[in-house]
Symmetry: C2
Amino acid sequence: MNSRTDNQDLITLAHGNGGRHMRELIEQVFLRALGNQAPDAHLDAGALPSHSGALMITTDSFIVQPLEFPGGNIGSLAVHGSFNDLAVSGAEPLALSLNVIIEEGLPIALLERVAAALAEAAGHVPVICADTKVVPRGEGGGLYLATTAVGYQARDATLPPMGLAAISPGDRLLVSGPVGDHGTAVMLAREEFGLSGDLKSDTACVLALTRALRDLPELRFMRDPTRGGLANVCHEIANATGLGVRLSQSAIPISDPTRAVCEILGFDPLYLACEGRVVAVVAENIAEEALRRWQALELGQDAAIIGEITEARRHAPVSLITELGGERILMELEDDPLPRIC
Amino acid sequence: MNSRTDNQDLITLAHGNGGRHMRELIEQVFLRALGNQAPDAHLDAGALPSHSGALMITTDSFIVQPLEFPGGNIGSLAVHGSFNDLAVSGAEPLALSLNVIIEEGLPIALLERVAAALAEAAGHVPVICADTKVVPRGEGGGLYLATTAVGYQARDATLPPMGLAAISPGDRLLVSGPVGDHGTAVMLAREEFGLSGDLKSDTACVLALTRALRDLPELRFMRDPTRGGLANVCHEIANATGLGVRLSQSAIPISDPTRAVCEILGFDPLYLACEGRVVAVVAENIAEEALRRWQALELGQDAAIIGEITEARRHAPVSLITELGGERILMELEDDPLPRIC
């Protein structure tokens, strides 16, 4: 490979300088991948598609390392992350805005794979505005993305914005599938432990899961257990309601590869990020119905009822009934044990 | 200063790990600066304030170096950049989303100054969702921001989204003030030429300027001349319409400090970024009225009619009538001569 080829294959500062190289990069990588879903490059601001229902907006930055991992890459992760925040709020995505900060030297082929995954994850939802910057070598982590998603409150959604306030003792907790796969997969991809095997990230859009529950009148709350995992969502619930959360260890789905890796490395999967799961709190009388609805979906076939809301328990707001019948307090996480998983 | 104090004064990776340190940083820096305009930290997605008119959305990333410069910092720049893209589209800002990517080691005092400038620039417009990440030393440029602004098409705005299509030969070009101050000020702050003097960035919100013109029925087009400056906007107009743009050198306002610095360093201020100016194209018969309206505003007191639209001129789509009466072709910029000015 000669140096001319090298230059064509890697991002240079010229790709960020507002001129022809930048226009060509955007056209050949992002506009090609996005097709009809791409923004109009002539406009400073894009118009939102027509909609009904109150508008919701959510934003996230993505600094995951490595940029690619089994099951996805930073592009699919960025779209799923934003769509999922809308989904658990009872909303449907309407449009996406995209910021791309590229470090000089990034292989263009990698950028193409990211753009393709991003476009596939966005599906029919248009990217209506975007911005690309290139930073010098040594001032970026290869690629950072920021996505802002605008959505509308679905007509059938009964979920109030502060659904947390409706949570009562006796309510049940459900999770839509095995926990901790994303955090474990990214850690393995980063650390090269040689343990990868069948493990892959759960990164996925959870809209099918939230659509399935959101017309249930006694659905209280939904949240995607990302940073800090299932344990963190339980602490959010306990902190916001003043009530307790008691989980049943034997009921919590954990995939075999994640369980094996966590045992070897000493991680607790309850604290590891998911990027394609939903935790829901529902009234006891609809818990079985909610479970059936989730299990009927491909993404929810391993869903389970994993615990319940209790009266306030000041010294053990979140606890786990172990398989041996003991009770273990789940502490609040001070720091993410696996940073840069999103 | 002992090391304990040092640690408290600089961003560490722990500030990005989702735990207590991160919560405290966000509360003490961003929520404090934003006051009532801050997002609700309990919600994954914020609701947009009520509005009328079609919604517009725009996004930008900011990697300016240095992070602070005479006249502003990356915080004010990020808000102005997003609001101005809405403003020139005939829209009013409704809400802002904010992404903050901080490099380990950034002084927290600097972050506080950025947050304060950002909050002041946002004014009454709420930041309804936000995300903060910390990247390891050597993987960021101190601080990157990405802002997405949602706005609504103002009721009095006659500006169609594709106002470019209405541009005709004989139309006049106006600029709202001196060009090139932002690019020159950032370059001087970066390069430490010892030439600073009175020079400061023009970074400002241009809403007052766009509000003043947007009900004029024969307003064709507005654009903020950022990267690539005035010359780049003229090429955008020429490229999109197939018509020519002829500027009058003696009419173009350029501040004395910017003129002096550009002469010494060999830069052309017509190609340097502004961050608080508007270029407007209007029908000839309303050009004087548009000029009067701008000159009545503090931000527009140096506004001028600087040129006109001509029939197509294939080999000289954008040209400048010099002070000596000659004609100079303004070439299309291949690369930004001063990268990282926004």
